[in-house]
């Protein structure tokens, strides 16, 4: 299996390089075909690992949507579409979290990410919107080295995950959490008892970030000519 996995990931790297913004339209189409092939084989490989009792169809669907949305976020030329595909990615991850019985966390993810963080991103994108595609969106920076470094890291991670899990696979899987799986009670009680100091610190961090963001954003910019005049 390792050689097969490495072959698939290499194929994915080549496909991603071809599909990055900056290439010609037909090479980008070829890249998408390569990526689709690599994704299909990878999905089949992942499905073989999922035991039959688990909802493997749902996992496959959400994983496919997540990887497709992630690829579109980094290959789409228009920032607004990237942000919208990121929301699609959030929903796919939410589905996976529900499969992992983390219902409260999945809803929190939708509310915080899709509802709050992404709205801020879309707002800033619209603030800086330009009438025609900006040159820095059309051409990517060093796609060869970026894809190479990323996929080397991915191959390394996949190897480590595999080696690490070989002893663990022999032990039987833990039973599903019987009562209150991932509800607000199950998550909230440890949050406010065991991790009470951490949640105070996180609150402080959020306050500091808020104050810092306001302090940064309301600063009046001085133009380059003015600052040079000062010197």
């Amino acid at each position: 299996m390792p050689t097969l996995l490495i072959a698939i990931l290499t194929l994915g790297a080549v496909g991603l390089f071809l599909a990055m913004p900056g290439g010609r339209a037909d090479t980008r189409r070829v890249g998408w075909v390569v990526l689709a092939a690599a994704g299909a084989v990878l999905l089949a490989l992942l499905l073989r690992l999922v035991p039959g009792a688990d909802p493997r169809g749902l996992f496959a669907g959400f994983a496919l949507v997540a990887v497709f949305a992630a690829l579109r976020v980094i290959t789409h030329g228009k920032p607004v579409y990237s942000a919208l595909y990121f929301i699609l990615l959030i929903f796919a991850v939410t589905g996976l979290l529900v499969l992992l019985e983390a219902t409260f966390l999945s809803m929190a993810l939708v509310i915080i990410y899709a509802g709050a963080i992404l709205v801020t991103y879309v707002f800033v994108i619209m603030l800086a919107q330009q009438s025609r595609p900006a040159p820095y969106d059309v051409k990517s920076r060093e796609p060869v080295w970026g894809c190479l470094a990323g996929f080397l890291l991915l191959i390394l991670l996949a190897r480590q995950i595999e080696l690490f899990l070989v002893p663990a696979q022999r032990t039987p899987l833990p039973a599903p959490i019987a009562e209150a799986p991932g509800t607000i009670e199950a998550v909230g009680v440890p949050l406010l008892t065991e991790y009470v100091v951490a949640i105070q610190i996180i609150g402080l961090l959020l306050l500091a970030a808020l104050v810092g963001a306001i302090a940064i954003a309301r600063r009046r910019p001085t133009t380059r000519a003015e600052s040079e005049g000062d010197e």
Binding site: L49, A63, A70, V73, P79, L100, L105, L154
Partner: protein, 103 residues
């Protein structure tokens, strides 16, 4: 059952990394860091649900909540910086911001 989730988390993380390195639009770069957070959240929750030994715990979900809070703080600061830089230079190109570079 743990392995597919870990692999998917790794794929999301690496795609975010590639996007951060190769894209030149500052907003997309920060969007890619959020994508890396998604991979990590998936990892944490999968490890909480399918621990290598012992019964499943909710610690992974608690850590994921903390991670979301850190991501929110990061998004607020990063977007404030992007807005400020955009007002300075009128572009979102990461290559345009070389004021810190020693020339």
């Amino acid at each position: 059952m743990l392995l597919p989730y870990l692999l998917l988390g790794a794929i999301l993380f690496v795609l975010g990394l590639i996007g951060f390195v190769t894209r030149r639009n500052l907003i997309i770069m920060f969007l890619c860091t959020e994508m890396m957070f998604q991979g990590i959240i998936l990892n944490l929750v999968a490890f909480g649900r399918y621990p290598l030994k012992g019964a499943p715990t909710f610690d992974g979900q608690v850590f994921a909540l903390f991670l979301i809070a850190v991501a929110a703080a990061e998004a607020a600061l990063a977007l404030a910086l992007v807005v400020l830089l955009y007002r300075y230079q009128g572009t979102l190109d990461a290559n345009a911001y070389r004021m810190l570079k020693d020339e």
